[in-house]
């Protein structure tokens, strides 16, 4: 019989090679995508920034497309302020929830509550925008009327919506990093006479620190990149950030005027895209350094 094992192997060889190449192509899809995105963001954004002048673009305080004035400092500062406030509020709250879920709640309760956290993470951003516009913006109206300011969407409303949106990210990353802390840390601390709460604060949380920090960085990335929810509550005037006044964030700067922009105006929007992309890349590199450090220690 000619049907030897060696021959069977040979007849299959071309298919094997094809599949090998196909899988390689799939494996490289993510790499190619990131390269293409970086390339196109730079190619489309850099000329605009050069044309407008980097200083006028990044440090200019006036955004007025009709007058060909493209300064995005208000947008940058609004994004940074809204994100900063959101993170400062969300981190302690998320940490408390994470501690409750991992250290205090029983298994049943924890898994039910984790389901709610996942739900919170899964709600689309337009739904958050709608909720924010109906529930949060009117609350801020009261503060605005009390201070004699016109009622409008505001930086504060945007921040509050962002708090809610980054909570699930920080909670779930913190929960999994606290879960990864070896039980002995807690046990030894208890055996040394500390109370349960002392063990959590002094032994468990410090051991989970790098994971928690990476959760926070992820939250920052999510907040700075959020578009629709923020657009629906922030009022969107390109002025320097003040909490009770309308504000336009970087992301909204792109999406608001996209539909009716052309020429240098559209190019300026590409420029905003590039600035936002630069922010995100810095955050990404930061994240991978934190994760590497955390990994190296173990």
């Amino acid at each position: 019989m000619q049907n030897s094992i060696a021959r069977a192997g040979k007849s299959k060889a071309p298919l094997e090679k094809i599949m090998n190449v196909l899988f390689l192509v799939c494996g490289l899809a993510a790499v190619v995508s990131v390269v293409l995105i970086s390339l196109y963001m730079v190619l489309s954004g850099a000329p605009a920034i050069a044309k407008i002048g980097p200083l006028q673009f990044l440090a200019g305080q006036i955004w007025n497309p009709e007058a060909k004035e493209f300064g995005i400092l208000p947008l940058i500062l609004s994004s940074v302020t809204a994100t900063g406030l959101a993170v400062v509020v969300a981190v302690p709250a998320a940490l408390c929830v994470a501690v409750f879920l991992t250290q205090i709640a029983g298994k049943r309760l924890a898994s039910a509550l984790l389901f709610l956290v996942e739900l919170l993470a899964g709600i689309p951003s337009v739904v958050y925008g709608l909720l924010g516009a109906i529930l949060i913006v009117p609350l801020v109206f009261q503060a605005q009327t009390a201070l004699g300011l016109p009622m409008s969407g505001s930086l504060l409303s945007a921040s509050i919506v962002l708090v809610i949106m980054i909570l699930p990210t920080i909670i779930s990353v913190s929960v999994s990093s606290i879960h990864a802390v070896p039980r002995q840390y807690n046990d030894v601390s208890l055996a040394l006479g500390s109370s349960k709460m002392q063990s959590i604060v002094r032994a468990v949380i410090p051991a989970a620190k790098s994971g928690i920090v990476s959760g926070i960085v992820l939250g920052v990335g999510r907040a700075i990149g959020e578009t629709m929810a923020v657009m629906m509550v922030a009022g969107n005037a390109p002025i320097m950030p003040e909490f009770l006044k309308p504000a336009r964030l970087l992301t909204v700067g792109i999406s608001m005027e996209w539909a009716y922009s052309s020429g240098i105006h559209r190019e300026a929007l590409f420029g905003i895209g590039l600035v936002l992309f630069a922010f995100i890349m810095v955050i990404n590199v930061l994240l991978s350094t934190i994760l590497k450090k955390g990994g190296a220690r173990k």
Binding site: I5, G9, L15, E16, L22, F23, L24, C26, G27, L28, A29, A30, V31, S33, V34, I37, S44, P92, A93, C96, V97, F100, I104, F115, L116, V117, E118, L119, G122, I123, P124, S125, V126, V127, G129, L130, L131, A133, L135, I164, L167, S195, K196, M197, V201, G221, R222, G225, T227, M228, M232, T251, S255, W258, L269, L276, I280, N284, L287, S288
Partner: protein
């Protein structure tokens, strides 16, 4: 000593911390439940059969979201057709083929990077690359291609987990019986990782359904009419999905009631998908035991 093991009295600092933790936790979950209840109480009323199964009719003044439901279904289908083979293939490559550690690290870093890029950036990129450079116009197809890149990290990561969970002995067994690598992957690995792959699909559907910022830039349009052409004609024209439609109604036109009706529908879908992920996870665990 109040601090002793035998003395059960709690330190005042501990009590304070317990209080703070309890307060924050209660606040976060009360808020979540309130949101869900609020959306349903405002939106379920609007979800009539006519609203779900007709196109908007300006002449008699009725509203309907069937066109955007169809657009959403088309985009989900197309995106999955592109993204699932590429994502699962990528995971197979990292897990089974790649020998260079450096290459694996590069792939994993770029996957991580991709999942951190905000959707508005994908929108700008998709518009420049798919709509303009590849001349696909602002269309459902451009939308699906953009979304393919967006869901890739989720699919790669989830499929990779599933592949890792397949015991090495299965691979050795297949190799020992003379199966070639592709045969082993096709007949042993993928069937055993199918639970994880389905989870990846469900997670991706969630992301696609909720996406709005990117689609506004690459698929845009409105959803006024039911599809008139074939599937292939339809995907070359623009159209908005449910989430984009919510934005248009609630923000651009100030019709909050329609917005809440769509929000309720989206929430039902999201809850359904989350339950599905949980159920699949349970089944996989039971299988493993």
């Amino acid at each position: 000593m109040s601090n002793s093991i035998t003395g059960k009295r709690k330190r005042p600092g501990d009590i304070l911390l317990y209080g703070v933790i309890g307060l924050f936790t209660a606040a976060v979950f009360a808020m979540t439940v309130y949101f869900v209840v609020y959306i349903f109480s405002k939106g379920l009323r609007g979800l009539s059969l006519a609203f779900l199964t007709t196109a908007p009719n300006p002449i008699i003044g009725t509203l309907g979201i069937l066109p955007s439901i169809i657009n959403t279904a088309y985009i989900i289908l197309l995106t999955l057709v592109f993204a699932v083979p590429i994502g699962v293939g990528g995971a197979v490559y990292i897990n089974e083929y790649a020998k260079s550690r450096k290459l694996i690290r590069v792939i994993e870093f770029t996957t991580e990077t991709l999942s951190g890029i905000p959707s508005i950036i994908f929108g700008v990129f998709g518009n420049v690359f798919f709509c303009v450079f590849l001349n696909l116009k602002v269309s459902l197809l451009s939308g699906a291609l953009t979304l393919t890149i967006m869901v890739l990290p989720t699919i790669i990561r989830t499929a990779q987990e599933a592949l890792k969970a397949v015991p090495v002995s299965y691979r050795e067994g297949a190799a020992g019986l003379g199966a070639s690598k592709w045969t082993m992957i096709r007949t042993i690995l993928l069937p055993n990782a199918s639970g994880g792959i389905i989870t990846a699909v469900v997670l991706s559907v969630g992301r696609i359904v909720g996406e709005s910022a990117a689609l506004l830039l690459v698929a845009g349009g409105s959803a006024m009419y039911l599809p008139r052409g074939s599937f292939f004609q339809q995907i070359q024209s623009s159209g908005s999905t449910l989430a984009v439609e919510l934005y248009r109604y609630a923000y651009s036109r100030g019709e909050n009631e329609v917005g809440f009706a769509i929000a309720a529908l989206l929430l039902i879908i999201v809850i359904g998908l989350n339950l599905a992920v949980k159920l699949i996870g349970k089944r996989i665990n039971r299988g493993a035991k």
